[in-house]
Symmetry: C2
Subunit: 293 residues, 2 copies
């Protein structure tokens, strides 16, 4: 597996992420931006933005294009992808992206509008029957009943796997065009509404009122909460808590833009991205490199 080392890895290619990238690059840092496609879906859809000073009356898509052009003119490395877990290795942070093993002295989270749970009370039930990776936890549910709720077709493979070891597998697709699956998987077209159970998971209530008793519940392909992305990250409800240097409670982890709180606006994101990019650059300069051995 390829191994790449960076000073600053930025998650998100919206205004906050690109502003951070430009500022860290100017400070001569090795920068990687990992973003979705398109960058900043809400900005992409904005018909007219009139309050980003210096560029009046411009569409969100056009402004985003200008931001991207600015970053590209500086040869900033921007790749498309999604990170599920970042691990603190003491001296740096490590993450895996497709076939790459990446380490970075600092991380800037600029993932945009706050994470929304698929179901209420997810965080309460985590580890009490609810999980986000069926194949990881599968063995715990041998001969039992599980439900997989999936935001995309990648859940189908996990459901097929679970069908081999579980007694009952319910599969709830939150997308259209379901592929061919193991015949033992029961596909439900009803939307899930509520988790049943307090100390332990008991079942899931569907939109039609029916309660399906399950031992295990997996939610797949949804947005990843920043505090699941980097364990230990402090949040205030749905927003990441930052100080005025855009630092989180974890050393070397910063956050900027909509994920840190309202107002959800371009200029605020650009400003926070700048502060995060400069502060990460300063932290990366003082962190020891990993190459001492």
């Amino acid at each position: 597996m390829r191994h790449s080392e960076y000073d600053v890895v930025i998650l998100g290619c919206g205004p906050a992420g690109l502003s951070a990238a430009v500022n860290a690059t100017i400070r001569n840092k090795k920068v990687l931006v990992i973003g979705g496609d398109p960058c900043s879906p809400p900005m992409h859809k904005a018909q007219k933005i009139d309050n980003y000073l210096g560029l009046p009356s411009i569409s969100g898509a056009e402004l985003l294009q200008r931001f991207m052009a600015h970053a590209q003119a500086m040869d900033i490395e921007i790749i498309n992808g999604k990170i599920d877990l970042i691990t603190d290795m003491g001296e740096d942070y490590q993450l895996i992206l497709q076939d790459q093993f990446i380490s970075s002295k600092t991380i800037i989270i600029a993932t945009g509008v706050p994470y929304k749970n698929t179901l209420p009370r997810e965080e309460d039930m985590l580890g009490k029957g609810l999980g986000y990776c069926a194949t990881c936890d599968g063995p715990l549910y041998r001969d039992k009943t599980v439900m997989l709720i999936s935001h995309n077709e990648e859940g189908e493979e996990e459901a097929d796997f679970m069908a081999q070891i579980c007694r009952n597998v319910y599969y709830v697709p939150l997308y259209k065009k379901i592929g061919t699956m193991d015949a033992r998987v029961k596909v439900l077209q009803e939307r899930p509404q509520e988790i049943i159970g307090k100390e332990e998971l008991a079942g899931v209530r569907m939109a039609n009122g029916q309660v399906i008793p399950v031992d295990g519940l997996f939610i797949l392909g949804g947005e990843t909460s920043p505090s699941r992305l980097i364990p230990g990250l402090e949040m205030d409800d749905r927003h990441i808590i930052v100080n005025r240097k855009q630092e989180t409670n974890l050393h070397g982890v910063l956050a900027a833009g909509d994920c840190t709180g309202k107002p959800y606006q371009v200029a605020k994101s650009i400003g926070e991205g700048q502060v995060a990019g400069l502060q990460a650059s300063s932290l990366a300069s003082t962190r020891p490199t990993n190459k001492g051995f």
Copy 2:
């Protein structure tokens, strides 16, 4: 005297001030910007700014021009002037500008790079022999010895006035081209260096080492510290303390840009200006108007 009422009065026409103005105007607030000329002297001098996303490789003067054009296209009222004192009237804030009596529900301080004292220890000696308005405190120094240090020619008139009531008046101009003054005023060409005295003012040490004993010292035409501008404003050394909504410790008083702390950068100022402009708009909507009687 003319009396004008506003929702948001903004001190400073640099990036933070104009960003605040644009955002408050979009929220339909009545906005006034009071700024110097040029707006943001440090930005005006910047040869090339490369980290304001969307407008790469631009001179500070050109970027400032674009900011001003954006504000002007929105018909924002911008006037040239300097405010010395803002008074909290409970329901609103009041200030005097030339021939205008101005009241505003909210104030945004965006006065740029932090205030620098003319001499060390000014704040310690305030009220112990040091003041900022000679004509106001003049009667206290009848038949005594005073020194006036002035950043501009406006101090000459004050010195002439003091010469009529004081025994000795020293005048230290920190500018060139001194006009004709009362013959009793002793003009010193040496720069002042240090305030002498602990519990009470004793004198001023000049750059050549000479100590001039004085009873009163006035510093005129210098920058106004934000905490003198609005009494009670909390500062951390030279910066105004704000929360993440850009609110200061005083209700309805916000601050944005360089005056709130480093990094002294355009994007940070633009972002903070936006947050301050939106938050002031929200506060102005909930503050009762002054027209109930």
